[in-house]
Amino acid sequence: MIRVQRETFDVGAEIASLCAGDTAAGGVCVFLGRVREFAHGAALQAMTLEHYPGMTERQLEALDAEAQRRWLLEKTLIIHRYGRLLPGEAIVLVVTAAAHREAAFDACRFLIDCLKTTAPFWKAEETAAGSRWVDARAADDAAALSWQDGAAAGGS
């Protein structure tokens, strides 16, 4: 299941609702991405996430389907926000539930690694010096690439 939304989300409620009534998922892995105050040296006042409505949902759905194809998963959830966010606010949530923890961990990491390099979101950081677009990280490309040959674990 995927959601792209402006408003924040309740991490506990999302996990609880995903797992409600489920007695097959022994392992649940969650990744929560948050806005950091000191991202690139300067104090961040806010971050604005622009996205490509329509393509974003398609990309997240495709990633979700790929994870379900690669691992035996009971449940998956991806929520990604857009708009203006303050330090400490949640940006993205990935939840994977599986019978065993290995699949839950691998799928969760796969989803966030690949999301970062394929989902059309762009961050602009606001500091005292003004607003500027964040450049893509080479490390993110490497992490996403590490999954291309069906690797079981993400990059270091």
Binding site: E50, G54, T117, P120, F121, W122
Partner: protein, 86 residues
């Protein structure tokens, strides 16, 4: 009609987020569209000067420069994505 979308820093350079154009008959793929936009000049031409920093999607799927165009697609130009979290 072809819809062209620009996002993030590419949008800022282009000076607009969306435009609709009638594709010249000579343009048959993304590279042809880029060449035509560059020749047309203005913001979009500036935004597409350095293609190494630009990603392309056709009908909301990532596409290469040799992706064919018939003239009724949605083509998007944007920088490498930076979503997710640290």
């Amino acid at each position: 009609m072809l819809t062209i979308l620009y996002f993030a820093s590419v949008k800022e350079k282009a000076g607009c987020g969306e435009e609709t154009v009638r594709l010249p008959a000579a343009v048959t793929d993304v590279m042809g569209l880029v060449a035509w936009l560059r020749q047309r000049g203005g913001g979009p031409a500036a935004a597409l000067t350095d293609l190494a920093a630009v990603r392309v999607a056709v009908n909301q799927e990532y596409a290469r420069l040799d992706h064919p165009l018939t003239g009724d697609e949605e083509v998007a130009f944007f920088p490498p994505v930076t979503g997710g979290a640290p």
